[in-house]
C-alpha cells in the first residue's frame, strides 16, 4: 500500500516550513505567558508543544492513504461534524459567554474547528464531481450553499460570529475559484445587501459594540477599542529590531488582552520588531505560495480544490488576524492559524496540511 515512490515525493520543504512556524509559535507563547507563569501560565507553551506533536502525527497519518478516500467520506465526515456541533449546543460548557467546547475527559474539542476542514472537503468533492469548469449559476450552487449554511447558522448561534464568517469566506473563496456566472454574482450580492440589516439586528449586543467601536473608537474607550489601542502600541513600539526576547513591556505588564491567542502576533511584533513580524509574514507567504504550487501540480480537480481550500483557510485567518491586531478590522476573535494558542485549531490546521501534503505526494500517481 505504501509505495516507495511516495516517500521520494514526500514534501520535506512543506514539513520544514510548518515546523519552523510551530517553533516560532512555542517560543512566542513562552514569552507571552512569561509574566503569568506563576499562576498557571507556564502550562500554555508546554500544551502547545503537545498539540503540535499530536498535530504532526495526524499530519503524517493523513499522508498514508490516498486522498481520494476523502472524496468518498466527505459527506459522512461532514455529518459527523454537524452532529458534534449539535452536541456542543446542548452539552457544551459556556466559557466567555459562548458555547463552543465539548469537554471529553482531560481535553476539550472545538467542533467548529473541524467544520472548517470538513467544509473544504465537501466543497471540493461537490465541485470536482461535476465536469463544469466555470460559470456556475445560482441553481448549481444551491446545494453547496445549503451545506455551508447549516454549520454556519449553528456556529453563529453559539455565538461565534468570527469562526462562522471565516467558514463563509473560505467557502466563497473556493466557490469563486471554480467561477461563478456574473449574473449569479450580482444576484448574490444584492441578496447580501438586503440581508445586511437583518444580519445587523441579529448580532449580539457586544458584537455590535465591537463593530461600532471599530468605526468610532471614542464610543467604547473601555472595550475593544482599548484592546486595539494596546495592540497597536505593542506592535508599533517594536520599531525595527524589537525590544528583545522576553522584554516586551506591553506583554509583561499584561496590557495586552488575550495575548496568547488573538493577540499573539502583537507579542512577536513587540519583541522582534518589524524584522520579526515581517519575517513571520514572509514565512506564511512562502507557505501559501508553496501550497499554491502544489495545487498547480495536482493531478486532478479534487486535489486542486482541496489545496485551494486549505490555502484560503490559512490565508484568511492570517489576513483577518493581522488586520485585527493592527486596527484595520474590528475585533472578531479570529486566531492566527498555526501560531496562536489553541489545541483544536492547531490540530485541525495541521490535519488540513496533511491533506495538502497528501496531494503533493501523489501528484505523479495515476489512479488505476
Amino acid at each position: 500500500m505504501f509505495d516507495r515512490r511516495l516517500l521520494d515525493n514526500f514534501d520535506w520543504i512543506l514539513l520544514a516550513i510548518l515546523l519552523l512556524i510551530g517553533l516560532l509559535s512555542v517560543v512566542n507563547l513562552y514569552s507571552a505567558t512569561y509574566s503569568i507563569r506563576s499562576i498557571g501560565g507556564s502550562g500554555i507553551y508546554v500544551k502547545q508543544i503537545c498539540w503540535y506533536g499530536i498535530g504532526f502525527l495526524i499530519l503524517l497519518l493523513m499522508t498514508t492513504f490516498d486522498y481520494h478516500l476523502l472524496d468518498r467520506i466527505a459527506y459522512p465526515l461532514f455529518l459527523l461534524c454537524v452532529l458534534l456541533l449539535l452536541a456542543v449546543l446542548y452539552l457544551g460548557r459556556v466559557t466567555h459567554g459562548s458555547q463552543r467546547w465539548l469537554h471529553l475527559g482531560f481535553f476539550s474539542v472545538q467542533p467548529s474547528e473541524m467544520v472548517k476542514v470538513s467544509v473544504i472537503l465537501v466543497l471540493a468533492k461537490h465541485f470536482s464531481a461535476s465536469q463544469k469548469t466555470g460559470d456556475y449559476r445560482m441553481r448549481d450552487l444551491w446545494k453547496p450553499l445549503v451545506i455551508i449554511g447549516i454549520p454556519f447558522v449553528m456556529i453563529v448561534y453559539q455565538p461565534d460570529l468570527g469562526t462562522a464568517l471565516v467558514i463563509l469566506i473560505v467557502s466563497f473563496s473556493v466557490i469563486l475559484f471554480v467561477h461563478v456566472n456574473r449574473r449569479s454574482m450580482l444576484i448574490f450580492l444584492s441578496i447580501a445587501c438586503i440581508s445586511a440589516p437583518f444580519f445587523w439586528m441579529s448580532l449580539q449586543g457586544y458584537q455590535k459594540k465591537r463593530i461600532i467601536a471599530f468605526l468610532r473608537p471614542e464610543t467604547d474607550p473601555l472595550g475593544s477599542a482599548y484592546h486595539v489601542t494596546q495592540s497597536k502600541i505593542a506592535i508599533g513600539s517594536g520599531l525595527l529590531w524589537g525590544k528583545g526576547y522576553l522584554k516586551g513591556t506591553q506583554t509583561n505588564l499584561n496590557f495586552l488582552p488575550q495575548q496568547h491567542t488573538d493577540f499573539l502576533f502583537s507579542v512577536l511584533a513587540e519583541e522582534w520588531g518589524f524584522i520579526g513580524s515581517a519575517a513571520l509574514l514572509t514565512l506564511y507567504l512562502f507557505l501559501i505560495l508553496w501550497c499554491l504550487n502544489i495545487a498547480r501540480n495536482s493531478k486532478d480537480r479534487f486535489g486542486t480544490l482541496v489545496v485551494v481550500g486549505v490555502v484560503a483557510l490559512i490565508f484568511w485567518h492570517l489576513v483577518i488576524n493581522v488586520c485585527m491586531v493592527t486596527g484595520l478590522l474590528p475585533v472578531v476573535g479570529i486566531p492566527l492559524a498555526l501560531f496562536s494558542y489553541g489545541g483544536s485549531s492547531v490540530v485541525s490546521t495541521l490535519a488540513a496540511m496533511g491533506l495538502v501534503m497528501n496531494v503533493s505526494m501523489r501528484r505523479f500517481m495515476f489512479q488505476k
Binding site: S38, G236, L240, V311
Partner: protein
C-alpha cells in the same frame, strides 16, 4: 484516463490561470499587510515606543452618582458622601517598610496585615492598588495628601458612599444597598452594573434601582511612571442617577418613628383621598448606614437571627387579628343585608351563651342596652356576636373581601402578605373539618382566624371616609432629574369601589366620631382639641384566656402573651386629610396604648400644618 476526478488538459489550463491570478492576489494582500506594519513599526514606531515605555494607559471606571431620595416636600433623606481609602500600588513601591513607616507617622494603620497583603499582590497583580486603611477622616486625608510626594506608591481612592441622613428613619421603606449578586448580574435590569457594585437590595433603593443607578462612564487615561495623569484619551461621561421623591412627609415620619421607639409594631399614615403613604414605619428597625459599605458577616447574622425580626416590614407583612376594628365590617355588612336595624337595641350582660359555650364581652358586667351606634362607640362584643351569627361567616367573609381585606393592596414595594379572611370553604380546605358556628362569633369581633395587615387597614379606613374608593397605596411621588422633568409621577390609582349605601357609611362614620369624642368611647384617649378625629380601637388576642379566670391584671401576663393594641383614626372626618393606623405588638388594649400614640402624632402633625 479521464476518471471521475476529471483529468482534462483544457480544464487544467483554466485552473492554472486562476491559480496565477490567485497568486497575484495573495501578493497584493501581503503587500498591504507589510505596508501597514511598516507604518506602525517604522514610521510611527518612536511614538508608540514612547507611549509604551514611559506612559501607560489606564482604564478608569467612572461610577455614576446615585440618585438622591427626598420626601414629598423636597427634604433630603438620602444622599452620597465621599469615602476615602488609603492604598498603595505594589509595582510602584520602592521600599515597602519605609513606606509603611512613613505612613504610620501620619495615620494609624495596621502595618502587619498591610505588608502581607502588599507582598502577596506584588506577585499576582502588581498594578492594582491594595487598600491599607478605609474610611479616612478629613484630618487623616489632609495629612496624607500633603505628604504624598515623599511616599511614592501611595494612592488615595475616593468612592461615593450612600448616606442615610437620619439613620433608622423609614428604613423599611427606603431600604438599603448591598453588593450585587450573580442572579442580578445576569438580568437585564442590572445591565449597567458590574461585579462589586452596590445596588439596591430592599425597599425604594431596590424598586427604583435602575433609575437611581445612573449610567457608568469611562476614561482611557494616560499616566506616567509616577501615576500622574497626563491626559484623558477618550472619555465617556457618567450620567448621574435620577432622584426619587417619596410620598412621605418627613415631619410626620419623625413623629411616627418616635411613637414606635422601644416598641414592636407598625404605623401607616395615608392620604385617604389618593392613597399616598404619608408615613410608614415598622419596629424594631435597623440603620441602613450599616449596610452602605457592605455589611460583615457578623453584623448580618445578628440582624437576621434577631428573634424580633428587625428586617421585616411589619406594615406590609405583619399579619395580626384585627380585633374590634373588624366590627366595622360586620356593621356595614349587616346594614347592607338589612339584617341590622340601627335602632334595634339588644341587652349586653357581659356574657353571651351560644351552643353551650360562654363568650365573654371585654367589659365585665356588660354594656347594658345598646344599639348600633353605642355598640361601636363602646365596642360591645355581645352585640356583634349576635349580629355576626345572624349574617353567617360566608356573608361576613364576602363583605370583608369587598371592603379590601384578604387580598394584597397592590403596594409595589417588595413583599406584601394578603392577610386571611376565613370562610367555610377555607376551613375545609386547610383544616379538613367544617366551620363551627361558634367561630363566626369570634371572627365577628376580629379574633380567631382572621388576619389583616396594617396597610390593608389603612386602605380600608380611608375608603370608609372617602366615599368607598379603594386606592392603591403609593410611596413614590415622582422620579426624575431636579429640573422638573420626570420619568414617573404618581397618580391616584383606583383599585376598587365599595358598593355600600351612602347612608350606611354615614352611620358608621358618625359612630366612629363618637368613639373618640363621647365620654364612654373606647378611643377617647386618641382625641385632641386641635382637630376632630374619628377612630376605632382594637385589641387582638394572642391567646384566649380561660373562662374561669378573673380579668387579669395586664402586667402579670408575660409579654409575648399580651394582646396587640390597634387604633385607626381619620382626621378630620368631614374632609379627611390623614388616615392613621397603629398596631403595637403586645401593647395591651387598643385604647390604652395605641390611642394615646395616635393623639401624639395627630397633634404634632396638625399643629404644624396650622402654623
Amino acid at each position: 484516463m479521464i476518471g471521475r476526478s476529471g483529468f482534462d488538459p483544457a480544464e487544467t489550463d483554466i485552473f492554472q490561470r486562476r491559480l496565477t491570478r490567485l497568486t497575484f492576489f495573495v501578493f497584493f494582500v501581503f503587500g498591504v499587510l507589510f505596508v501597514r506594519l511598516w507604518f506602525l513599526q517604522v514610521i510611527h514606531g518612536s511614538k508608540f515606543r514612547t507611549q509604551s515605555e514611559s506612559n501607560r494607559i489606564y482604564l478608569r471606571d467612572v461610577l455614576p452618582f446615585r440618585g438622591l431620595i427626598y420626601d414629598r416636600n423636597g427634604e433630603l433623606l438620602v444622599d452620597n458622601r465621599p469615602f476615602f481609602t488609603l492604598g498603595a500600588v505594589p509595582e510602584d513601591i520602592g521600599d515597602l517598610d519605609g513606606l509603611l513607616a512613613g505612613l504610620r507617622e501620619l495615620v494609624d494603620i495596621d502595618d502587619g496585615s498591610a505588608k502581607k497583603r502588599i507582598s502577596r499582590a506584588k506577585k499576582r497583580n502588581p498594578f492594582h492598588s491594595v487598600s491599607i486603611k478605609r474610611g479616612l477622616t478629613r484630618d487623616e486625608l489632609a495629612k496624607v495628601e500633603t505628604n504624598m510626594f515623599s511616599i511614592p506608591g501611595v494612592v488615595i481612592e475616593v468612592k461615593p458612599r450612600r448616606h442615610y441622613l437620619y439613620g433608622p428613619f423609614a428604613s423599611h421603606l427606603i431600604g438599603y444597598l448591598g453588593e450585587i449578586d450573580t442572579k442580578q448580574l445576569n438580568s437585564e435590569e442590572y445591565a449597567q452594573n458590574r461585579l462589586g457594585d452596590f445596588v439596591g437590595k430592599f425597599g425604594i433603593e431596590r424598586k427604583w434601582q435602575k433609575q437611581l443607578n445612573g449610567v457608568r462612564g469611562g476614561q482611557q487615561v494616560e499616566v506616567d511612571a509616577y501615576g500622574r495623569r497626563l491626559r484623558v484619551l477618550y472619555q465617556r461621561k457618567a450620567e448621574p442617577g435620577l432622584d426619587v421623591y417619596l410620598t412621605i412627609d418627613k415631619g410626620l415620619q419623625a413623629l411616627v418613628e418616635k411613637a414606635l421607639k422601644d416598641k414592636a409594631g407598625a404605623i401607616v399614615a395615608m392620604d385617604p383621598m389618593n392613597g399616598e403613604i404619608l408615613a410608614m414605619a415598622s419596629s424594631p428597625t435597623f440603620d441602613p448606614n450599616d449596610f452602605a459599605e457592605g455589611m460583615d458577616r457578623k453584623g448580618w447574622e445578628k440582624l437576621v437571627s434577631n428573634l424580633r425580626f428587625p428586617l421585616q416590614n411589619r406594615a406590609t407583612t405583619g399579619q395580626y387579628p384585627p380585633g374590634s376594628i373588624f366590627k366595622i365590617v360586620v356593621a356595614l355588612a349587616g346594614l347592607e343585608e338589612g339584617i341590622i336595624d340601627p335602632q334595634e337595641e339588644i341587652i349586653c350582660t357581659g356574657r353571651h351563651y351560644f351552643q353551650g359555650r360562654m363568650y365573654r364581652d371585654w367589659k365585665e358586667g356588660g354594656h347594658g342596652s345598646v344599639d348600633l351606634h353605642r355598640a361601636l362607640v363602646e365596642s360591645c362584643d355581645v352585640y356583634f356576636y349576635r349580629m355576626g351569627h345572624r349574617l353567617g361567616i360566608d356573608t361576613i367573609a364576602s363583605y370583608a373581601k369587598l371592603l379590601g381585606f384578604g387580598l394584597r393592596t397592590g403596594l409595589k414595594l417588595g413583599d406584601e402578605k394578603p392577610g386571611l379572611i376565613p370562610d367555610r370553604k377555607w376551613k375545609l380546605k386547610h383544616w379538613r373539618i367544617p366551620w363551627q358556628e361558634g367561630e363566626t362569633l369570634s371572627v365577628s369581633v376580629g379574633q380567631s382566624f382572621a388576619l389583616v395587615t396594617p396597610i390593608q387597614m389603612a386602605r380600608f379606613i380611608s375608603a370608609l371616609f372617602n366615599g368607598g374608593i379603594l386606592f392603591r397605596p403609593q410611596v413614590t411621588k415622582s422620579v426624575g432629574k431636579g429640573d422638573g422633568s420626570a420619568v414617573f409621577r404618581c397618580k391616584p390609582d383606583v383599585m376598587g369601589r365599595w358598593s355600600i349605601g351612602e347612608e350606611h357609611m354615614e352611620l358608621i362614620k358618625k359612630a366612629l366620631v363618637g368613639v373618640v369624642s363621647e365620654p364612654r368611647g373606647t378611643g377617647r384617649r386618641g382625641g385632641t382639641d386641635i382637630v376632630q378625629v374619628a377612630g376605632k380601637t382594637g385589641t387582638a388576642q394572642v391567646i384566649a384566656l380561660p373562662e374561669e379566670e378573673e380579668t387579669i391584671d395586664e402586667e402579670q401576663i408575660p409579654y409575648k402573651f399580651r394582646d396587640h393594641s390597634w387604633f385607626v383614626a381619620v382626621a378630620p372626618p368631614e374632609s379627611p386629610m390623614l388616615a392613621l393606623v397603629i398596631v403595637i405588638e403586645h401593647g395591651g388594649t387598643g385604647g390604652s396604648t395605641a390611642a394615646p400614640l395616635a393623639k401624639m402624632i395627630l397633634e404634632g402633625y396638625f399643629s404644624s400644618r396650622a402654623s
